[in-house]
């Protein structure tokens, strides 16, 4: 509606069109502007490819690091499940009490499974492995205690909750000593934490660089189109209308950069996959390098698009405003 002239119809209100049609026209004009921006990137392929390349590679680095940390976590998750608690029972515990303890413990929700190694079995095993053999038969009594190996459930296998379980187990009357070898696990977790933080910092810095690069590219686009923007402002274009093509340019940079990053990450993973297979075959472990999942991929693309949009938004808001007809 005209601000100055009451009743002067303007634009879309002109031909009595329905809400639906107006919505359609809105989308059609957006699609047209989006395709227009894409066409403009296409017409200057060298410059566009360079910008897309910078963006793609800037996203590739943190994405690859992320995949590596993820794989390391997966690997260590496999080790964690093996984490066991060894309970050494008091010497004077009677076999019946041992059985009772096992029954009691097997009801705990934190515990996945229990293995009882009786004194006799332990001695037998020790005889075989230690090589003392006959010397041990001369002992008056069996010096070894009963041992129960406790495997926590998956949910309680992390170092902190496993040590909480250990404390609880130690309070049992029959238990003399409990042991959980978690120090190395805690260290590993510490290192993984550092790695994740480093990935985060690197990603943040690179993302910031991407926003600045896109912002600068869009700034150049804007100053190249200075005359056009002036004319558009003279014939009554709103800022939003002028912004839109530049925002779409940022969007396309982001999307294409994200796709490039996806290719680059896939290529890198394919590259290192061979050597990882070789190493894991040496360890006879069935480790498989896992790449980006569908949701990771979507997140990466969304991130990239958002960076592109953010860069262009900042630039557009600063620089389109400066261009005013004088």
């Amino acid at each position: 509606m005209s601000l100055l002239f009451k009743g002067r119809p303007q634009g879309a209100q002109m031909s009595h069109i329905s809400m639906l049609q107006r919505l359609m026209m809105f989308f059609v004009s957006h699609v047209r502007q989006a395709l227009g921006s894409l066409g403009e990137l296409w017409r200057a392929p060298a410059a566009s490819l360079m910008t897309i390349g910078v963006l793609g590679l800037s996203i590739t680095l943190p994405s690859t690091l992320y995949v590596m940390v993820k794989n390391a976590e997966q690997l260590s998750a496999g080790w964690e499940q093996a984490s066991e608690i060894s309970l050494f029972l008091r010497q004077d515990t009677r076999p019946a009490d041992v059985q009772q303890l096992i029954t009691r413990l097997s009801l705990w929700p934190e515990i996945d499974s229990l293995v009882h190694i009786s004194k006799a079995d332990a001695l037998e095993e020790f005889k075989q492995l230690s090589g003392f053999g006959d010397a041990l038969t001369h002992l008056d009594s069996n010096p070894l205690p009963d041992v129960i190996l406790v495997t926590p459930t998956e949910r309680h296998a992390s170092p902190s909750s496993a040590s909480r379980l250990l404390d609880k187990l130690r309070k049992e009357r029959e238990v003399e000593l409990g042991k959980l070898d978690i120090e190395w696990l805690e260290r590993l977790h510490g290192f993984l934490g550092i790695a994740r933080d480093v990935v985060g910092v690197v990603a943040l810095l690179l993302f910031l660089a991407v926003v600045l690069i896109i912002g600068n590219t869009i700034r150049l686009n804007i100053s190249n189109k200075r005359d056009e923007i002036l004319v558009m402002k003279l014939v009554g274009a709103t800022d939003a209308f002028i912004h839109r093509p530049f925002l779409y340019t940022g969007f396309w940079y982001g999307l294409l950069g994200g796709i490039l990053a996806w290719f680059a990450v896939s290529l890198l993973l394919w590259w290192v996959d061979g050597s990882i297979r070789y190493v894991s075959s040496l360890y006879q472990s069935p480790f498989e390098l896992s790449g980006l999942s569908a949701s990771d991929l979507l997140l990466m693309l969304a991130m990239s698009v958002m960076l592109g949009l953010a860069g262009s938004m900042i630039s557009v808001h600063r620089h389109v405003r400066e261009i005013e007809p004088r």
Partner: protein, 234 residues
Amino acid sequence: MIKFENVSKTYSGGQQALRQVNFHIEPGEMAFLTGHSGAGKSTLLKLISIMERPTVGKVLINGHDLNTIHRRQIAYIRRDIGMIFQSHQLLMDRTVFDNVALPLVIDGYSRKEINKRVSAALEMVGLRDKVRNLPIMLSGGEQQRVGIARAVVNKPPLLLADEPTGNLDPKLSMEIIRLFEEFNQAGVSVFIATHDLGLIARMKYRTLTLRQGQMIDDGLSEDWQTDPLQEDSL
């Protein structure tokens, strides 16, 4: 239609472009604004299209005080004012059609409506056959007519022209002015700034005269008959 109330404009450099300007142009009127270059003609037009804001005083269009118009609303104000420039202000890398269609595209008209109106506007200025040309392939007079078609394509109630005949020979200038007369007869208010006194002399339209930022003649006073044009050209 256009009303100036004690308008002064001082640029940030301290240069005073307009001093205490008062005048009123009625709806449907056609008027000329004249004066030497540097007298403040362009500044006066810029105040109407809100390219500049007055330092003191009020500019009103159709009774609305432009001082109350927010920066974000300026775009909508300009859709009500058809503007024509000496330098044409055409997009040189777009066809004549795209140039004329620009205000309609901005205003969100449908494709069908745009085709219809652009054809009509180009018909009016006699450039129907140049639709697909680039402005660069046209003569100066033709480029100016493209600018005029663009200014009238969304049928604004007010038409402003800043030196529309600046680079044209007298015959072409007259053709352009005839075009403005046609629009005026269709009810559009037309306000033309020009220093082409010869052109104005052949017309019987109201003429406002600026000298060094002051309105020395608003074209209504009785003593205007003693010919301010000659006085001005001295």
